[in-house]
Symmetry: C2
Subunit: 521 residues, 2 copies
């Protein structure tokens, strides 16, 4: 390859490093902050989800209050204005030493663990604050207490280029009532009039799958929306789990080797992996031909690769245990749906736990018919993941794809334009979102299979209900025919009889028919 004429060497090309904050500042479309409408929606949902997590992880029934108030208008685009967003929760609170970074440093947080939480990227809350800062040049005010003697208040901004919190003020107050929780307050630009429908839909669906939470929202027009808790029953807080061998890659094994206190492979295998005890560990080491007395630090690169391959091919591991998951349960989900849609028929199925790449998951699938369920050209779909409603980008979601690709609706006597809604809730220690903005779920084959089977199963139930509806209707028509003609036949037969007789009473016969119909319904 000869040198091209006119070609100038790359020495003048400037290379640079950017911070994670700078990356997401430059690419805020990725995190759901692409325009003034979407930004205000994303800010509210990210902070609300953080608050719900802060309560639920500690078994605290959430009481969350938030308010969006108008600050000023006359922005460049029509109906874009400045708002003040304040959110207050009764969650666990944040230890004071972590407050600045928890709100002012991207890729810092408590979410980087294997457990079922709403937040997974440790990004949303900070993106909201960052967006507020770049649109209003304002700062964020954070108050938090873990229920001890003091309440800490910080006033801060994010230094985007260095990805560090810049503390502009700090105050300590006495915490007489042992209050615990967090208050976040900052200004941001947005388009509330346009965002409103999605925000209200989001709150309504959140209430549907978090029936133990109380959420109060005061909007910029002064309207109060109150979603009361309909149950005091809290789900079990999700537990953190070790990595499952099926989900381990070379990097996982390297990291465990760096921190392990084990001096032999038997200890190593039985201590650091999900559902691997000493017996399974020994069996696996025998299978993989690894000396159980080997010091894990002595493993060379090829051996690490071999272990990972063996972990993937060994069939003797127990499947991931879903006890670390906190699904909603059929009762709570049914109650939520009944409250919101008042359907004629609803059926929820919780699928058996399964796993993808070593991450356990549980799918809950539901179907509702009639009531306030809207008729759609192709069913209504409600999607949830770890108790978050997903409202955007439905077209790319795995559940929508399954509904669209299913061709045998006729078998179920179901037509896509009937007033039918499907519900899909994915619970996992790691929901495979395709976007940082948590809009939709990637098509992992294991998830797809469970959702598909769930949809088939609830459709069969609906089909049975619909058939019965049809047969009841049929019976009803039959009886009304009998009712009409039996007395006439009785009269007619009596008239024909040579001996003068009383007209026989047909009512017992009709009663029998009616009873039979009710019993078979």
């Amino acid at each position: 390859m000869a040198i091209n004429k006119g070609y100038s060497a790359r020495e003048d090309e400037t290379f640079m490093e950017i911070s994670p904050a700078d990356f997401f500042y430059r690419n805020r479309d990725l995190a759901g902050f692409n325009n003034p409408t979407r930004a205000i929606y994303s800010a509210i949902r990210e902070l609300l989800e953080n608050s719900l997590d802060a309560c639920e992880l500690y078994g605290i029934p959430p009481k969350i209050f938030f308010r969006l108030s108008f600050e000023g208008g006359e922005k460049g685009e029509p109906s874009e204005s400045t708002y003040l967003l304040k959110i207050m929760d009764n969650g666990s609170g944040i230890p004071q030493e972590y407050i600045p970074s928890a709100f002012g440093q991207i890729l810092f947080g408590s979410k980087y663990k294997l457990r079922q939480v709403r937040g997974t990227f440790g990004l949303g809350g900070k993106m909201a604050i960052l967006y507020g800062q770049i649109t209003t040049n304002g700062t964020a005010r954070i108050l938090s207490s873990i229920g001890k003697r003091e309440i800490y208040e910080f006033n801060l901004r994010i230094d985007i280029q260095s990805n560090k919190p810049e503390i502009l003020g700090r105050r300590v107050q006495e915490n007489k009532n042992h209050w615990h929780g967090t208050i976040v307050e900052f200004a941001l630009d947005g388009d509330y009039p346009r965002a409103m429908p999605k925000i209200l839909e989001y709150l309504q669906q959140t209430a549907m799958v978090n029936p133990y939470a109380e959420i109060v929202f005061i909007d910029p027009r002064g309207r109060l929306y109150r979603f009361e808790s309909v149950t005091s029953k809290m789900p079990e807080p999700p537990k953190e789990v070790l990595p499952h061998p099926y989900g381990c890659d070379v990097e996982t094994i390297r990291r465990i080797i760096n921190v392990t206190t084990c001096h032999n492979m038997l200890c190593f295998m039985s201590k650091h992996f999900h559902r691997v005890g000493r017996i399974t560990a020994q069996r696996f080491l025998d299978y993989a031909g690894i000396d159980s007395a080997l010091n894990p630090e002595k493993l060379n690169s090829d051996e690490i690769v071999r272990i990972v391959q063996m972990m993937k091919s060994y069939t003797g591991f127990l499947p991931p245990d879903a006890s670390c998951l906190s699904p909603l349960g059929t009762e709570l989900l049914e109650a939520g749906i009944m409250k919101e849609l008042e359907p004629e028929f609803v059926y929820i199925e919780q699928r058996d736990p399964s796993a993808y790449s070593g991450f356990p998951f549980i799918i809950e699938v539901g179907v509702a018919y009639g009531g306030n369920t809207a008729s759609n050209s192709n069913f209504t779909l409600y999607r949830f993941a770890n108790k978050i409603p997903l409202l955007y980008d439905e077209a790319s979601d795995i559940s929508r794809r399954i509904l669209n690709e299913k061709k045998d609706w006729k078998r179920y006597k179901i037509r896509p334009d009937m007033p039918i809604a499907f519900f899909v809730h994915v619970c996992s220690t790691k929901v495979p979102y395709k976007t940082v903005g948590k809009e939709y779920i990637a098509d992992r084959p294991e998830l797809e299979k469970e959702i598909r089977n769930g949809v088939n199963s609830v459709s069969r139930r609906l089909s049975r209900f619909l058939s019965r509806q049809i047969s009841i209707e049929h019976e009803r028509r039959r009886i009304s025919l009998f009712k009409l003609y039996l007395p006439k036949i009785a009269q007619f037969s009596t008239d024909l009889s040579p001996r003068k007789r009383k007209v026989p009473d047909v009512n017992p016969l009709l009663d029998d028919l009616r009873r039979y119909q009710e019993e078979s319904a």
Copy 2:
């Protein structure tokens, strides 16, 4: 809010900071590395796009060679194997001091500028190497030269937890032929048999919109795919641009203040913004009521916010200049489509430049009919952004949405199940992707409008072609009727004639009709 019983304080909650490399390692679904099939597709396309950029930015006609070779099988999942990926380009090369970070550090690179390039996140190439590393524990071998005396070779891996390149070997060779370019080689696990159709489709479409590039691919089965360049005409290399005032937020202004050498606002405004010269700068400062002699460093927080607001509302700025963009042009795109699809009809329209949030963009829209264009239930759609084909998540893309929502096809005599393909190419200094994996484009209203108008416009052209097709068909049928009956009528009239005459020759008449038809076609 009283303290909840059973509640344990959050002091035991562990907070941590993770590096950008660790973030994308944990969330590789985000970057298109979600499964063995997708990973191998993403690795190839990311490296290929980097190579194309490395050539095009310097006006070098790209000659890219890459090879995927089988290394070993028996992975956990069926048909998952280890492959060696090698890619070689004749691009500008990378100065030696930047090589390790350019391949071993996430969020480091030369892509963080306002200019039209394929790569925008500075992430893809490193994600490919990272994926190779975590699946095979291998290292990456990089060779590069900028055409000077030496070729530098590095052997490296990414330290994921610290996000730093770890250099395991370094060699210097003499560069006798002044070769410039880059070679990247590393092993990764993947599922080539499944990925193959998408990879070949990707290459084919890449060839379609990069007709000046020569791409050679040898696949693991030893098959050679060669996409020859059909033109030596290179588009103008894209230029870097200053930020346009409409796209500036508070952070942009703060950063410019930090680096400016200007001591007054007139200099500041006329030096750092796209299409703002001294006259516009003075007019703007008058409009905003800012003293043109003010030292920009003296601007306080409120004044910065005010400037940003004024920039958004001032109508006197010139629109962004699209001369920094490098669209394909109607000729090249038409040539590419003709070569691949051989349609009966093709029409391309380049829309006038426009801008969103201060970023200039140009939309190219095309339509093809017949030939190898597949009939689909709802048109075939080819999507491109900065000369990259987008193959995944079409359902969420703005262009697909526009086609689906368009209801007036009848006006154009077009039915969605005809063999019609639409082409949409978005060129911009910043393509608003919704995912790091560059799968689809966000729905910015300005983009939407241009694409919609483009679709309408090319549809009208197609409609005219189809009407003419119908009228030609009509004419043809008319002539064949004439051909059938004219001789008979001639014969008949001759027979009827009282005087015996020769049958008149109808051929001149038929020839006239045929000529007339051809002329009107």
